[in-house]
Subunit: 341 residues, 4 copies
């Protein structure tokens, strides 16, 4: 069985494991105060070409979203996201469990735009009794989106400009940031991000690490006391050096982007083969996730050798499947899949 159902099936990029073995006996203070975390923080600042950001390392994506968002909002404020947003659909209501409403706008291939945000904001602000309505205060977008698509720099800037002009914050979920930034459907570069949002995170779990997400806080107003939230939400790893060393390796010589680029190339190879063989795509993704509309009979046959994630029913005879590649995907396995497609 060759699995393409997610990008967190294997362990970590080998160099990370090698480093973990190397430093195993080194004694380092806990909770992110170790030298590897400091080094990784600085490498990330350098990759962003921006000194004035706070960097914190957390363990997983849901944890990161709930910690960041609950640190920003008061109970009567909401976060706006696409109806397909991860916080809206696949985090068991973690945001609500901390007291905040998730407001949704209809996604366009996973994305929302400034006009949609404006509508939600103005509906509240223009209401006669505004305090009877939840106040939108934060916008959540994913880069790339849950559908594998990307915002262009102009699209994202438009969203952020609206936020800044209207006293909202913008948070980018970068669970698959590396795969997004190397894709050809966006012109956003890593060093653009400090100008494009208030806070974002760099996904490690799905991009080469065993686990780990790096939160980057740009807006000074959001920096204070963030470590209190981390500790309170169970998001401050005792052996913080495990997170530090992983990001330290990933941000040495652009390894993070090299790994992701290679995975995206293999994903695109599958995509092109699928198109060539006459399959229709459900989303037009240029990242490591590909969404193919597959006849159920064909799917059944493929599933003897391959595992996919069933995204959703397309119609009575077809299913949308999601195919993921990662740092560990081999060209050999990709070829085997293409052959059987």
């Amino acid at each position: 069985m060759i699995r393409f159902d997610s990008d967190y099936l294997e362990g970590a990029y080998p160099k990370i494991l090698k480093k973990l073995v190397e430093i195993n006996y080194e004694q380092e203070p806990g909770y992110g105060k170790d030298k590897y975390s400091k080094s990784a923080e600085n490498k990330i600042r350098k990759a962003l070409n921006c000194d004035n950001v706070d960097v914190h390392f957390l363990v997983g994506g849901t944890q990161t979203n709930m910690t960041v968002i609950s640190s920003i909002l008061r109970s009567y404020q909401s976060v706006i996201c696409a109806d397909t947003g991860h916080i809206n659909v696949h985090e068991t209501g973690a945001i609500e469990s901390f007291g905040n409403k998730v407001m949704t706008a209809k996604n366009h291939d996973g994305k929302i735009n400034a006009r949609q945000i404006q509508e939600l904001v103005e509906e509240q602000r223009n209401y006669d009794l505004p305090e009877h309505l939840v106040m939108p205060k934060l916008v959540f977008v994913s880069l790339p989106t849950e559908c594998g698509t990307n915002y262009t720099k102009e699209e994202l800037k438009e969203v952020y400009d609206y936020c800044k002009e209207n006293d909202l914050y913008l948070y980018i979920d970068g669970a698959r940031l590396g795969y997004g930034l190397v894709a050809k459907d966006t012109d956003i570069k890593m060093e653009d991000l400090p100008e494009l949002c208030d806070v974002f995170y760099i996904g490690g779990t799905k991009c080469g690490a065993l686990f780990g997400e790096a939160v980057v806080i740009i807006n000074d107003k959001l920096k204070k006391d963030f470590r209190y939230y981390m500790k309170q939400r169970g998001a401050m790893l005792a052996k913080g050096k495990l997170l530090g060393i992983q990001f330290d390796v990933l941000f040495e010589n652009d390894l993070y982007f090299k790994i992701c680029k290679q995975a995206v190339e293999l994903a695109l190879k599958i995509k092109e083969a699928a198109i060539e063989k006459g399959y229709k795509l459900y989303f037009n993704s240029f990242t490591n996730q590909q969404f193919i509309i597959m006849p159920n009979t064909k799917l059944k046959s493929l599933e003897k050798d391959f595992a996919f994630f069933k995204w959703q029913k397309y119609d009575e005879k077809n299913t949308v499947i999601r195919i993921c590649t990662s740092w560990a995907t081999t060209e050999e396995n990709v070829n085997k899949l293409i052959e059987k497609l």
Copy 2:
């Protein structure tokens, strides 16, 4: 200025005030343990023709919704309601502030049906990783709805049957219950309610009382420790007799329904006059709330003498206004309005 903008503009039905004055010096224990609350509880049981229900008196509608709903749900469970549901739009996210997601289905004139609930429930139950999704556990409907419309007995039974068969609870928000049950677009009677839901409340604030809502818990599973939730949410009035005496008066000789019936008759008089004069209705309501599509120029002129609630913009030239009647509305004022319509 004659106001029709809400049904809570005046105080209370005079007999209630009279009783409050009469018992002012009587010493009664607090927190709902007074003799008037006991008496009112029993009258409500009698009106329901059902001895085996718990009755609790709270102060207001948002308070009642948040107390009841948070007493039922665990943090990973959600309440399903119409997108127009009061808890979804006009309670400042009170439900989320206690940790629960509000899931919505598109309303049909304020109502949702069993099939829509089923879709939301099955989406979660059939998902590969169901614990990544919030689990629907409670259905919230309003009777009458926020749009002034009613469920028929068959419609509500269908919803409740689905709930019972699928391990969900059904809660009815009866902020305007009296106006709903006397309307001609439903065949539901007061004594049917114990068979049609797990818990509901009888609205007092909008139906003749100074304030107060009577929660009726039918399902034994939801009865335990409800008073703890009341006290914790600030919903246990110290001088509980103030609530008891009001419902005691309202449920003496069907006063509650007589008051509501009279208000509905006046609302229908306005409705009929509006139709006759060529206005279009936004919702076809048979209760005390009427929704009329009104040219902005006409509205401006009417607003010299009358106050309405602007429900929403209809188009560039028209506005949907809401007109409410109550126990205190006089035929004289209704006639004045009709004359100017």
Copy 3:
């Protein structure tokens, strides 16, 4: 049976009921935007000799405490109070239910002092990993305390000075404020309060109103968006004029303090009689609550004619009872009690 077990046994001072009857048919907008609320706000500002405060009317004490405190604190911050503080013992964990820890210091007759607060604050600030500990941010004191005692101006100033110098807020629970301010064991006057804390409330429920508490926000930082919290916590009464009119009556010609003074005088008459007859006091109160150590045999005999609140067991043979007076207590009933003591 003559009851002395609490100060919320009866209804309201008659003049309040009279006014409620008078304005019953007047149409006023809801949610605190009526003319009576505006008038009452202004009278309270005048009584405080301070224009620059926000005044909001809520329904009950637990509701007020939970709304105010949760509006001030972030999830990692705590409120410090006496171990006897109402929020710590008698509100079913309402403060914790909104996410905040209640930290306690040992009370001295219901009071805490600046040094105790300092100890708790420094313990956290001096800890090596301060973010592993909850951060004290708010101090809660009751005036008068739950034990019927009062802070002097100097004592309270010392507490507030510490708060201001150390970036903490001070909140005063004034559920029985009127009884406290007329007592001879404090030199605090109503108009001193804006200099002595950041926010406090004026209790109505126990001091002559049917119900109602007036929150006074002094510190500008705490004013913003308070109405959102009120609505979200179910603490914004639909018919807000019911609250407005009550405080409007109470703050006309010092009625609030006149009512409370009379009740305190009757309480002191009982106290003096008790001392004379050889009873020991549990707390030395100069307010409307008196705490007497009573032999169980005597108590049993008294309970044939009178009701008291059993505060706690004193020893095997004695019980601490609490006796309360209110606006409705008559000299005749006090004399009857004294006779039987």
Copy 4:
């Protein structure tokens, strides 16, 4: 610098890292559904000699405590623990942030007893208005305690018997379980635990793993839907096999206890040397944590070569220091410390 300040300074027992490297390329499903987690679950069941328990793997201690406790309690219920309990002092109010009050009893060397629990429970149950008080529902003890001490089987049984007889649950925090169970001041064995509590966890982070805690749910009532809580609290690791493989190694051939035993022996060697040299102990611990009262001048000198955790000030001239050993502590370093003591 040789560090003794905590037991999470190094990485993992080498065999664990070796296994992580070995399985790095294996594709396994996420979220704890991999074969290594299954295997580890079964080994733990075997070590407990009990088939009928649920085992779940989480990442860290605070996360585990907050997930378990919030899954058990309703908002009006509290958890009772020693005032020194980790949830009370060192988790930034995580329990309160999910809505529950932490009630404390004064610790005796880190422990509480059944009588203390009974006092808190009866105070609530015997109160006239019990719903005004938080209802104790769960007891939290640590084994070993935060002070390095242990409950005997009789002591723990007494606590659990009280809980069972009075409708409370008992939860054991086993962050350092291995060090506790090998100590000579307790007769509790691993296989006794299913008879001694409702739920507990086996600490990995401090006992040989990189990270990870294994929750064992014994009481059937607490098993349902636990994975929903895990996901919602960000406690469900995407690459769950990382947790599974670590516990699979630790519970192969009793490695977990062998590692802990060796660390405890080295700690006791330090303890005995300290006693011999005339130091006083602050707690009499037989586990891997030792608490020594150290003159400040001596401490200053030792700190040139060694790091300790400063537990607290003892008096003006002395400090209580905590010394920890772990799987990675060498006899050589212990000897160096003893030499300088």
